[in-house]
C-alpha cells in the first residue's frame, strides 16, 4: 500500500491537473506518441483506484484529508466509498482510452498539446468532484469542470457555433453551479457540517427541516442543469460542437453524470421524501422520452447519440427518484453500462467521421467491408445500448424493471415509460451501429478505410469490458454493485444478479417487449423522424431560441444601463458628485442635529461681545488676503486662463497657511501640487482647444455657484463641529512616542507614510499608477477617435452570437465640440 493515503488520494485529483500543465510541453517533444504517453497518467490513477477496492469493500469507505484553510477549520477532504470509487474508476479508465483516441483523432492538429491539457484538466476536476468530501471542494471542482468543459467544447474556437455551444454550456451549467453554492452554504449553516460523509450520519438528514424545500430546489437545479434534464437539456446537443473525443468523454461518464452523481450523493440525507420522488421521477421520465424521441429527429450520428444521452440521463434521474433497492442497483449498473457503450459508440462515430468525412446517417452505408474492426466495435456498443445479453446493460434493464412489478398505477406508468424509453434508445443504438455499416455501399466524401489503432483500442476494449463484466457477474455484483448501491442507500446491499434465465419471470418478458418495440422503432425510423420534425415545426420555438433571446435581452439591458450611467457628460458627473458631497455634509449637520454643537448656548450671554479677531501677525493677514483675492478672481474672471492662475495663487496661499501653522510637509506637498495642477490644467486647456472664455449661461452659473457654496459651507461647518469636540490624541501620542525608538525617524508624517501605514501607501501608489495609465489611454485615444466609428449595441446583429462584445457606448472624454486647434501663443 502507498505510505500516505491522504496525499495519494488527493493526488488522484491533482495529478491530472499537473499533467495538464505539462502536456503541451510533453507533446512538443513526443509528437506522435504523446497520446499514449499521457494516457499513462489516468491509467495509473485507474490502477491505484482499483487497488483501493479491497479496502473500501472491507471498511466501507476511506477518508483522506489535508489541511486547506486551517484557520477556518476547512480541510480538503476526500471520501472514497463504493459510489465515488465506481465513478472515479470509470472516469479514469475511460479517460485513459479517450486520451489515446485523441492522439489518433487529432493527429497533426497544431493545438493537440493544448487539447490534451484541457482534457487532463477536465479529468482532474471530474475526479476531484466525485472524490471530494468537503462540500466547498465539491463546488470548486464542480465549477472547474464547467470551466474546463467550456474550453473543450469551444476548442475549435474559429467556428462561431463552437463558441456559442461553449458559452451556452457554461452559462447553463453555471446557473446550476451558483445554485449548488447556495445549497451547500445553506446545508452548512443548518447542520454545521462541511463534509458529505458527516451528513450521512445525521438522523433523518435534512428531511424534517423547514428549509428542506429551498435546499432541495438548489441541489436539483444544480443537478438538472449539469445533467441536462428537460427543459434545461438544450445545451447538451449544442455541446456536440466539440471534437468527438470530447463528446465521448463528457457525455458518457463525466460532465453530464456529475448531476447524477450529486443526486446519488445527497440521497442518504435528502432523498426519499414524496416531493423528491415526484420531482425526480417526473423530470426524469419527461427527459427520457423527450431525449429518445428527439434522437429520431436527427440524421447526424453524433446528434443522435447526444439526444440519446439526454434520455439516458433522464433514466438515471428517474431511477434515483424511485429510490428502491432495485432502482438504485439499476442506477449503478446502468451508469457503468451506459458509460461503456456510449463512450464506445461516440468513438466509433468519430472514427466513421474521421475516415469517411461525414457522419450523416443517410449518406453512409456498407462501411463494414472497409472498416471491419470499427464495425465490430460498433456492434459491441450497440449490444450494450440495446441491452442484449451477454452485456452488463442487459442486467441494468432487468434490475430497473424488477422493482416496478407492483399493481399500483404509478408503478405501472413508470414501467411503461421505462419500457418505451429503453426501446427507443435501443432502436437508436441499432441505427447508429447498423445503418452506416450494412446495406449498399454509398460514396462518401473521403474514401473510407480502417481507422488507426489508437482510435480502435478504446471502443473495442470498452465493448469487451461490457461483456466481461457480465460474464464475471458475481464479481461485478460484489465489487461494484454492492458497495456502490450501498453508498447511495446508506445500508448494506446484497447483489442478486444471476445468469439464471427464468421463463416464468415477468421481467424477462419486459425485456422481450422492449426488444420488440425497439425492432418496430428501428423499422419505422424514417416515419418517426418525419413525425418528430413535423412536431418540432408545429411547436414553433425551442428552448434554444429562448436562450438566445434571454442573452440578447441581457446585453441590451446592460447597454441601456451603461448608457444611463455612463453617458459621458462631464458636467453631469461632476454635478452629481458634488451634490452627493453636499448631501453627505449637510444631512448629518441639519437632519441629525450636528449643528447643535455650534449654536450659542443660553448661558453664553451676549456672545457677540465675546467674538474677536484672531491675534495674527500682519504677514499672516497678508496670506489670508492673498487666498481671498485668488478666490475672488476665480469667481469673477471670465477668462479661463486667469481662473486657472488664480486657483494656483489661492492654493499657494493655503500652502503658506499650512507652513505658518506648523505643517511643513503638508505645505511642501501642497506647493508642488498647486504648481503641477496649474501646469497640467493649462496644458489640458490647450489640448482640448477650449474657448478662452467660459461660455456658461447664467442659470448654469447660478446652479454651479449654489452647489459650490453649499459644499464649502458644509465643509467649514463640519470642521467647526469637529473642533468643538475633544480630539482623541491617543494615536498621535503613540506616533510621537514611538517614531524614533521603533521606526528610527523624526519626521512623523513620513514615518507614518512609509512605515506605520506603509500598506496604505502601497495601495495609494498603485492607484496613482493606474490613474496614470488611464489618463495616458485617454490621451492616446484622442488621436484615433475621429476615425473610429462608435457602434451602439442596438445595431442589428445576427442572432447567432449572443455574447458579442459590447461596443463602447459612451465617448471616453468630456470634450465639448472640437474646434481648430490653437497653438499656445509664444510669449
Amino acid at each position: 500500500m502507498v505510505p500516505n493515503i491522504d496525499a495519494s488520494i488527493a493526488l488522484v485529483a491533482i495529478a491530472p491537473l499537473v499533467a495538464a500543465a505539462l502536456a503541451p510541453l510533453l507533446h512538443r517533444y513526443t509528437r506522435p506518441f504523446s497520446g499514449w504517453l499521457l494516457a499513462l497518467i489516468p491509467a495509473a490513477i485507474f490502477a491505484f483506484l482499483v487497488s483501493l477496492a479491497p479496502q473500501v469493500l472491507a471498511e466501507g469507505a476511506i477518508s483522506a484529508r489535508i489541511g486547506w484553510v486551517p484557520s477556518l477549520g476547512l480541510d480538503l477532504s476526500f471520501y472514497v466509498d463504493g459510489l465515488s470509487l465506481t465513478f472515479a474508476t470509470t472516469i479514469s479508465g475511460i479517460g485513459a482510452l479517450i486520451i489515446v483516441y485523441s492522439g489518433g483523432y487529432l493527429r497533426g492538429h497544431e493545438h493537440l498539446g493544448r487539447f490534451m491539457a484541457f482534457l487532463l484538466g477536465f479529468m482532474g476536476a471530474m475526479l476531484g468532484l466525485v472524490l471530494a468530501d468537503n462540500m466547498l471542494a465539491l463546488f470548486v471542482f464542480w465549477e472547474l469542470t464547467a470551466v474546463t468543459s467550456f474550453l473543450l467544447i469551444g476548442f475549435d474556437a474559429v467556428r462561431q457555433s463552437a463558441r456559442r455551444g461553449a458559452i451556452q454550456a457554461l452559462v447553463i451549467t453555471n446557473i446550476g453551479g451558483m445554485a449548488l453554492l447556495v445549497g451547500v452554504l445553506l446545508v452548512q449553516q443548518i447542520t454545521g457540517q462541511w463534509e458529505l460523509s458527516a451528513l450521512r450520519g445525521i438522523e433523518d438528514g435534512m428531511r424534517g427541516h423547514g428549509l428542506y424545500g429551498l435546499v432541495l430546489a438548489c441541489f436539483l437545479l444544480a443537478a438538472f442543469t449539469k445533467s441536462a434534464q428537460f427543459p434545461l437539456h438544450f445545451w447538451l446537443p449544442n455541446a456536440m460542437e466539440a471534437p468527438t473525443p470530447v463528446s465521448a468523454f463528457l457525455h458518457s461518464a463525466t460532465m453530464v453524470q456529475a448531476g447524477v452523481y450529486l443526486l446519488a450523493r445527497i440521497t442518504p440525507w435528502m432523498g426519499g421524501t414524496a416531493i423528491w420522488m415526484t420531482l425526480l421521477v417526473c423530470f426524469g421520465a419527461v427527459t427520457l422520452l423527450w431525449g429518445a424521441l428527439a434522437a429520431f429527429k436527427q440524421t447526424d450520428l453524433k446528434q443522435m447519440l447526444a439526444q440519446s444521452t439526454i434520455a439516458s440521463l433522464g433514466l438515471l434521474v428517474l431511477l434515483i427518484g424511485l429510490g428502491s433497492e432495485t432502482a438504485i442497483a439499476g442506477v449503478i449498473i446502468y451508469f457503468v453500462a451506459h458509460a461503456l457503450y456510449k463512450a464506445g459508440l461516440f468513438m466509433v462515430v468519430g472514427a466513421i467521421d474521421h475516415e469517411s468525412g461525414t457522419r450523416d446517417i443517410t449518406a453512409l452505408g456498407g462501411l463494414a467491408d472497409r472498416m471491419p474492426v470499427t464495425f465490430i466495435a460498433a456492434g459491441l456498443g450497440a449490444l450494450g445500448m440495446v441491452g442484449l445479453p451477454p452485456t452488463i446493460a442487459f442486467f441494468a434493464k432487468e434490475e430497473m424493471y424488477l422493482g416496478l412489478l407492483a399493481p399500483q398505477w404509478q408503478d405501472i406508468t413508470v414501467l411503461v415509460v421505462l419500457v418505451a424509453g429503453n426501446a427507443l434508445l435501443a432502436a437508436i443504438g441499432a441505427l447508429v451501429a447498423i445503418k452506416p455499416f450494412l446495406g449498399a455501399e454509398v460514396a462518401t466524401p473521403k474514401s473510407a478505410h480502417e481507422a488507426p489503432i489508437a482510435m480502435l483500442v478504446g471502443p473495442v476494449l470498452l465493448g469487451g469490458i461490457s461483456i466481461v463484466a457480465a460474464l464475471l457477474l458475481g464479481d461485478f455484483g460484489h465489487y461494484v454493485l454492492e458497495p456502490g448501491a450501498g453508498a447511495i442507500l446508506n445500508e448494506t446491499v446484497k447483489s442478486h444478479l444471476t445468469w439464471m434465465i427464468d421463463p416464468t419471470n415477468p421481467v424477462l418478458w419486459m425485456s422481450v417487449a422492449t426488444w420488440g418495440l425497439a425492432f418496430w422503432a428501428y423499422r419505422q425510423a424514417a416515419m418517426l423522424r418525419t413525425l418528430m420534425r413535423r412536431f418540432a415545426t408545429g411547436l414553433g420555438f425551442t428552448a434554444d431560441d429562448l436562450f438566445d433571446r434571454a442573452m440578447f435581452g441581457l446585453i441590451r439591458f446592460a447597454g441601456a444601463l451603461t448608457r444611463l450611467l455612463h453617458h459621458g457628460r462631464l458636467e453631469v458627473y461632476l454635478g452629481t458628485a458634488f451634490a452627493m458631497l453636499a448631501l453627505a455634509l449637510m444631512l448629518p449637520l441639519f437632519a441629525l442635529g450636528g449643528i447643535h454643537a455650534l449654536l450659542p448656548t443660553a448661558d453664553l450671554g451676549n456672545w457677540g461681545v465675546r467674538l474677536n479677531w484672531p491675534p495674527l501677525a500682519p504677514h499672516e493677514w497678508g496670506v489670508f488676503g492673498l487666498a481671498l483675492i485668488g478666490l475672488l478672481v476665480i469667481v469673477i474672471s471670465r477668462k479661463r486662463l486667469y481662473s486657472i492662475l488664480a486657483l494656483g495663487i489661492q492654493g499657494t496661499a493655503v500652502a503658506l497657511i499650512f507652513l505658518i501653522f506648523g505643517a511643513p510637509d503638508l505645505a511642501f506637498t501642497q506647493f508642488m501640487v498647486e504648481i503641477l495642477s496649474v501646469v497640467i490644467l493649462a496644458l489640458v486647456m490647450t489640448r482640448l482647444s477650449l474657448e478662452d472664455e467660459d461660455p456658461r449661461p447664467f442659470e448654469d452659473w447660478a446652479r454651479d455657484g449654489i452647489l459650490a457654496l453649499v459644499c464649502g459651507t458644509g465643509v467649514a461647518l463640519l470642521l467647526m463641529v469637529v473642533l468643538t469636540g475633544d480630539l482623541d490624541t491617543r494615536l498621535s501620542d503613540f506616533f510621537t512616542a514611538t517614531s524614533v525608538p521603533i521606526a528610527h525617524g523624526h519626521n512623523i508624517v513620513n514615518v507614518i507614510l512609509v512605515d506605520y501605514r506603509g500598506f496604505d501607501t502601497l495601495g495609494e501608489i498603485s492607484v496613482l499608477m493606474a490613474a496614470g495609465i488611464a489618463i495616458m489611454a485617454l490621451l492616446s485615444s484622442r488621436g484615433r477617435k475621429a476615425s473610429a466609428s462608435v457602434k451602439t449595441v442596438d445595431s442589428p446583429t445576427p442572432p447567432v452570437a449572443p455574447v458579442a462584445p459590447v461596443a463602447p457606448v459612451a465617448p471616453v472624454e468630456p470634450a465639448p465640440a472640437r474646434r481648430p486647434r490653437r497653438r499656445k501663443a509664444a510669449s
Partner: protein, 141 residues
C-alpha cells in the same frame, strides 16, 4: 514659452530641481520631505524640460518610458515589503541596517527603499501625464 532665456536656463533649473528632489526624498525620514514630495518636484522638473524643448526630447532625456518608471516603483515598493517575509516577520515589517563607513553611519532600511519606490511612482506617473499633454497631436503621446 520657447524664448531664448527660458530655453537657456531650463536645463539648469531642471538639473537643480532633480538633484533637489533626490535630496528631499532621502532626507524625508527625519526632516520635511519624502518620496511623494520628491517625486512631485522631479516631475515638475520634467514638465519644465518638456516645455522648454519638446516632449519628445524630454522623453529621450529620460531614457526610460515614464510609465515604466512608475511601474518599477510599484514593483520596488511591493518587493521591499516582501523582504521581511524571509525574516519570518509579517509583510512590510521594516528592517534596518546601519552601515559603518569610517566615522559616518549610513542607515539603510526597507522603508527607505519603499520611499524610493513611492518617489518613482509619483515621478513616473506625473511626468508621463505632463509629457503626454505637452506632446503635439501628431506624435505618440
Amino acid at each position: 514659452m520657447n524664448t531664448v532665456i527660458f530655453r537657456t536656463i531650463a536645463p539648469l533649473i531642471v538639473a537643480t530641481m532633480l538633484v533637489f528632489s533626490i535630496y528631499v526624498c532621502l532626507r524625508g525620514h527625519n526632516e520635511p520631505g519624502g518620496g511623494f514630495i520628491g517625486g512631485l518636484i522631479a516631475a515638475s522638473a520634467i514638465a519644465v524640460l518638456g516645455m522648454a524643448s519638446s516632449a519628445a526630447q524630454a522623453r529621450k532625456a529620460l531614457y526610460f518610458d515614464p510609465l515604466s518608471i512608475a511601474g518599477f516603483g510599484v514593483l520596488l515598493a511591493g518587493l521591499t515589503g516582501l523582504v521581511s517575509v524571509f525574516n519570518n516577520s509579517p509583510f512590510m515589517t521594516s528592517i534596518w541596517l546601519y552601515l559603518e563607513l569610517g566615522e559616518a553611519t549610513v542607515p539603510l532600511s526597507t522603508p527607505l527603499l519603499f520611499d524610493i519606490g513611492v518617489y518613482l511612482v509619483v515621478f513616473g506617473t506625473i511626468s508621463s501625464i505632463a509629457l503626454g499633454l505637452e506632446s503635439n497631436e501628431g506624435e505618440e503621446p
